[in-house]
């Protein structure tokens, strides 16, 4: 029943794959953008709680940010079943790490490196995990509390940055973050900035819903706040009567 072994006889270049070769051809249930940024005490991450099925907003209470071990948060967009599978891999990883019982625990940099290898190797087999993952965390190191934020996507592209966004967020949130992010943001300022990005995505991303979750990670640990909705602003006079000055406009 396990269809995930590639048939050695089939040429890797054959797009359809041989007998029993699994290939995520296209995503079915997909999560939206994830945005994240470093702030004074750690890393803050946010996303909406929706998962779409094509153009239908099918599932509206989905948690797409999860804690990983003691030091990290992972946010996933893209095919939700693949994200759930990645969480299982991470469970195995953190369990083995714990079983070493050596006083050490995997930090965000290590988790990110692991995920990068998983994503890239799957891509090389033409069997990608159809996700963009954001990995953030804080770990005490020789130079003090080291904040870490990185992302990796389905083709294995990976990098570290002070602020990350996936999906539509790349186009709508990143420009805002580039303009307004600072090294020493307080939690309140970071939340305000994240909410600014979330609102823009709500207005302009067709697949977003008005139900968000914000999560933060500091040296104390991770907190995933309960879902909430944001107020939207429609009170522009131009919105009320757009065809006043130009009949037939939209």
């Amino acid at each position: 029943m396990d269809g995930s072994h590639a048939n050695a006889a089939s040429a890797p270049a054959a797009a359809g794959g041989g007998e029993g070769m699994q290939r995520t051809l296209n995503p079915y249930v997909t999560g939206n953008s994830v945005i994240a940024m470093k702030y004074k005490d750690g890393v803050i991450m946010a996303c909406d709680t929706g998962a779409s099925y094509g153009s239908t907003l099918r599932y509206k209470s989905v948690e797409r940010i999860k804690a990983v071990g003691k030091h990290s948060l992972i946010g996933g967009s893209g095919e939700f079943s693949d994200f759930q599978e990645i969480l299982r891999y991470l469970d195995e990883l953190t369990l083995s790490d714990h079983m070493w019982d050596d006083g050490n625990s995997l930090g965000p940099k290590e988790i990110h490196a692991y995920l990068t290898r998983v994503m890239y190797n799957r891509r090389n087999k033409f069997d990608p995990l159809w996700n963009s993952l954001v990995l953030g965390g804080v770990k005490r190191g020789p130079k003090g509390d080291e904040k870490y934020l990185g992302m990796v996507n389905m083709i294995g592209t990976h990098f570290e940055e002070n602020h990350i966004a996936t999906g539509f967020g790349n186009h709508m949130a990143v420009p805002i973050l580039r303009g307004e992010w600072r090294e020493d943001l307080t939690f309140e300022e970071a939340v305000k900035l994240i909410e600014k990005c979330l609102l823009v995505l709500l207005y302009r991303d067709r697949s977003s819903i008005n139900k968000f979750q914000i999560a933060k990670i500091t040296t104390e640990g991770s907190t995933i706040y309960p879902p909430y909705a944001l107020k939207t602003n429609w009170g522009f006079s131009a919105f009320e009567n757009p065809s006043q000055g130009a009949v037939g406009t939209w």
Partner: protein, 245 residues
């Protein structure tokens, strides 16, 4: 349910976003105060032809867990056969009934690992002593999500708005059973790929109850007329509506 995939004509490149939906069915699962009710229509189509007008789309996995099947008839039958087989062994080994969570995760495992070959959207529902009544949705791709209620199949498109409007938590068993029959029959009214009878399965601490609501016992909706034996009966009754030029 699409039986045409038996001929090998199903293709997973017919994604919901680009290809035509081949899922003829309406399936529903709801939690109520004390258990769950699963419901489905009974139409299996091969293209435009109704291959089976009284199929049973709610299959038993264990004494306390059932699954609603939508998508390819062959794929979902084989998945439920495998899961039934695994759960049987699991029950013997553990000495107690399988939990709904375990059953749903087995369904998910098969759906996920074979995602490129399967067209199966399923709703798993049941009752166990640990968590009570539970409903798990396993759509295309192999995602698993626990929900207070779930809808699936091509007929479900017509139910999103209705469920958003009318769903309430904590219904009684009678309310839940009436609700799912209403909901499936509304979908049947509009979805060409759904039809026939409404079958329901109610699962709770006391066991399992199967019900059958034939097409002629379902409520009538907009533009639907009360069925008659013949025009002759209408004329005999001297109906004032008879159109006379």
């Amino acid at each position: 349910m699409d039986a045409s995939s038996l001929t090998g004509s199903s293709s997973s490149s017919d994604a919901p976003t680009s290809g035509e939906h081949r899922m003829g069915t309406t399936i529903v699962g709801v939690c109520y105060d004390g258990g769950v009710v699963l419901a489905a229509d009974s139409r299996t189509s091969t293209g435009m032809y109704v291959a089976n007008r009284a199929s049973d789309k709610i299959s038993q996995l264990t004494d306390n867990v059932y699954v609603c099947r939508s998508g390819s008839a062959a794929d979902t039958q084989v998945i439920s056969d495998y899961v039934r087989y695994f759960l049987h062994q699991h029950t013997i080994q553990s000495g107690q009934p399988a939990t709904v969570k375990v059953a749903s995760n087995l369904v998910r495992l098969l759906a996920y690992q074979n995602k490129s070959m399967l067209q199966a959207g399923m709703i798993v529902g049941g009752w166990d002593k640990y968590e009570g009544g539970q409903i798990y949705s396993v759509p295309l791709g192999g995602t698993i999500l626990r929900q207070p209620f779930a809808i699936g199949g091509s007929g479900s498109s017509y139910l999103y708005g209705l469920m958003d409007h009318e769903w309430r938590d904590g219904m009684t068993q009678e309310e839940a059973e009436k609700f799912v029959v209403k909901v499936v029959s509304l979908a049947i009214a509009r979805d060409g790929a759904s039809g026939g009878v409404v079958r329901t399965v109610t699962i709770n601490a006391d066991g399992v109850k199967r019900s059958f609501y034939p097409g002629n016992k379902l409520p009538l909706w907009h533009e639907e007329l009360e069925p008659q034996n013949s025009l002759l009966d209408i004329l005999a009754a001297g109906s004032p509506d008879a159109m006379v030029q």
